[in-house]
Amino acid sequence: MRRHDLISSTIWFCAGLFVILYAPQFDLGTASMPGTGFMPFLAGILMCIFSAITFGQAYFNKGGTTQKLWGNIQFRKLIFVLLSLLVYTFFLDIIGFLICTFLLIFFFIHLVGSEGWLKSVIAAGLTSILSHFLFDTWLQANLPKGILGF
């Protein structure tokens, strides 16, 4: 965990530093009248302090256990799921909820879940239609209809 803590705490420290440097643009105000940037500035300081402590603890804890965080992980599945979610979001307004959802669920069940064609088609069809009725018709969520109008 030691190496991972060193890397992650450095990233968090940089994030905190960015907040500290950016916050004064919104006016820090005075002690009696704290400005818009005061609280983010304070939060940035907290982030920097605690990421520095985390870094220090990891640096001096040389006898810590070594763990492989990224071993035996199904990266393809993870990346496929994330990309599918992004593509779904991008095309949702254009193609509409029903078709987009059908395709998304089908790909998830068939490709990620490794289920058969028929089971995937039936599950995807039922999910998209039922969720449309539940959210759009019953709960009036105004889901996107797309260029096809449904």
Partner: protein, 502 residues
């Protein structure tokens, strides 16, 4: 007399058909969420949160509360039958519950767990009714300085009790406070850290953030490894525990209920710590501690009653002080604020229907859950057989619809996906999510309290130390922080955390 009148009024609200329906829905969903491994109550509540915005706030909160305590009931089923905890608070139930199932005693284990949950749940509801109103009266004396100090203590305590490094937990709290400041400043109307994005003008939004962190993050963590599920094939019979079981469990039930309730009130304490504390205490009080882990019914009764009592206790700081004790309460607090209701000392006076309606509905919910979990146990065991390949696309779809339907904005969906990736990475690198969510919800309230305090004191920070309550709270905070440096105390805390993480 006043209490009885209020309770009766609460029942008149809770017994309205629509509230009964949503209480039942919450209990069913909660049990299902508890039964299904890899999907916790926090994720479920964040998924269903947008749905409640179209409901009456009382019905919505009754349902969300039902999911929370319902999950505590359901969580034991998988622990006992599959040796996989349905949710974190049932981890310790695996130790003796699964061993009982292997010895052909799954029935009494499930029965004792459901009855114990009912007894503890009922105790915590009654205690909630008694404790909350006077505490709200005390909280009326709180000014902005006391509120600020209380929130600082809450976040520190959460870091202290988190499952890993305190510095990582407090780092997450700092990040959460920063996230809470994104968007328009409530006082000046100036946009902060929005980078020209319209989506960020109102801030990242509670729903996309929690759905991403808990929903998407959890799914990604589960998908990285094939999920193994082997259900112990046993006939579930004789659900009612024997007289001997009762004798062995009676004090475990009492101790579990009391410990659970008080640990539930503490920020960061919650159901998980309560169940571990109860198990450790039962082992210590037992005449045969070496038998724990081999199928002792007290090892099921204690933790199961403790986690249910903690679920009830957690409502106290949220409803009386407006300070959530755990992420679920933070989401409920957010839901109330979105409904235009400010949780805090005035809630009981200004919205008695909500307070007493929700509290009494928990009593009705406990009875519903007893019925759902004893005679219908076979149904929940069948739910365990739903393949994850079908389940995870449905959860993802709920996340997508939930975050989109809030403002019909694709920007919120992107925010959710980003926080999903962040949640996944945080799990990998062992950064706790609860301090982030809690600080994110408390951030704006903290900022307002800090600004008001400094305005009142003309910029003197001594206002936090001059007022006795505020000074006391900050003293406890400092003691907590110092104790994390003292080697002996640090070792002891790490031992507790290590045992709970295992």
């Amino acid at each position: 007399m006043d209490l009885i009148g209020n309770v009766l009024y609460g029942f008149s609200v809770a017994f309205q058909p629509i509230n009964l329906l949503f209480c039942f829905a919450g209990c069913v969903i909660g049990t299902l969420v508890g039964v299904l491994p890899g999907f916790g109550p926090t994720a479920a509540i964040s998924l269903l949160l947008p749905m409640t915005f179209r409901l009456d706030p009382i019905s919505g909160i009754i349902m969300l509360a039902g999911i929370y305590y319902g999950a505590m009931y359901g969580g034991s089923t998988t622990s006992i039958l599959v040796n996989i905890p349905g949710e974190a608070a049932s981890v310790v139930t695996c130790l003796d519950g699964y061993q009982m199932a292997r010895q052909g005693r799954a029935g009494p284990a499930l029965g004792m767990s459901a009855i114990g949950s009912f007894i503890a749940g009922t105790f915590s509801v009654i205690a909630l009714m008694v404790v909350a109103p006077p505490l709200a009266e005390v909280a009326l004396k709180f000014g902005p300085a006391e509120y600020f100090s209380l929130m600082v203590l809450g976040l520190t305590l959460l870091g202290f009790l988190s499952s890993g490094s305190i510095s990582k937990a407090l780092l997450m709290a700092g990040f959460g406070i920063f996230l809470g400041t994104i968007g328009l400043d409530n006082l000046t109307g100036i946009p902060r850290f929005t980078f020209g994005s319209e989506t960020l003008l109102d801030g990242p939004g509670l729903v996309p953030v929690v759905m991403g962190l808990f929903g998407i993050g959890e799914i990604l963590s589960n998908l990285e490894q094939p999920l193994k599920r082997e259900i112990f094939d046993t006939r579930i019979s004789h659900l009612l525990p024997t007289v001997r079981d009762w004798i062995e469990s009676k004090w475990a039930l009492v101790r579990g209920s009391v410990i659970g309730f008080f640990l539930g009130i503490l920020p960061g304490g919650g159901a998980v710590i309560a169940s571990f504390a109860s198990y450790a205490i039962e082992k210590r009080f037992s005449k045969t501690p070496e038998k724990f882990g081999t199928g002792m019914i007290a090892g099921v009764a204690g933790p199961e009653s403790a986690n249910n009592a903690a679920a009830g206790g957690a409502f106290i700081p949220m409803l009386t002080l407006g300070i959530p004790a755990n992420p679920v309460m933070a989401i409920l607090l957010g839901a109330l604020i979105i409904h235009g209701i400010q949780p805090g000392p005035f809630l009981i006076k200004e919205h008695p229907d909500l307070f007493w309606g929700v509290v009494t509905s928990m009593y009705i919910g406990n009875i519903m859950l007893l019925i759902l979990n004893l005679p219908l146990i076979g149904l929940w065991v069948r739910a365990l057989r739903i393949p994850y390949s079908i389940l995870f696309p449905l959860i993802l779809l709920f996340c997508l619809i939930g975050s989109y339907s809030l403002k019909n904005s694709l920007g919120d969906v992107f925010v959710m996906i980003i926080f999903g990736i962040l949640g996944y990475l945080m799990r990998k690198y062992r950064y706790d999510t609860p301090p982030l969510v809690l600080a994110f919800v408390l951030g704006p309230i903290m900022e307002a309290s800090l600004r008001r305090s400094l305005l009142l004191s003309n910029g003197s920070p001594f206002i936090f130390f001059e007022r006795p309550i505020s000074a006391g709270l900050l003293l406890i905070t400092s003691l907590l922080l110092c104790s994390s440096i003292v080697p002996a105390l640090k070792k002891r805390r790490e031992k507790i955390v290590f045992e709970s993480a295992d």
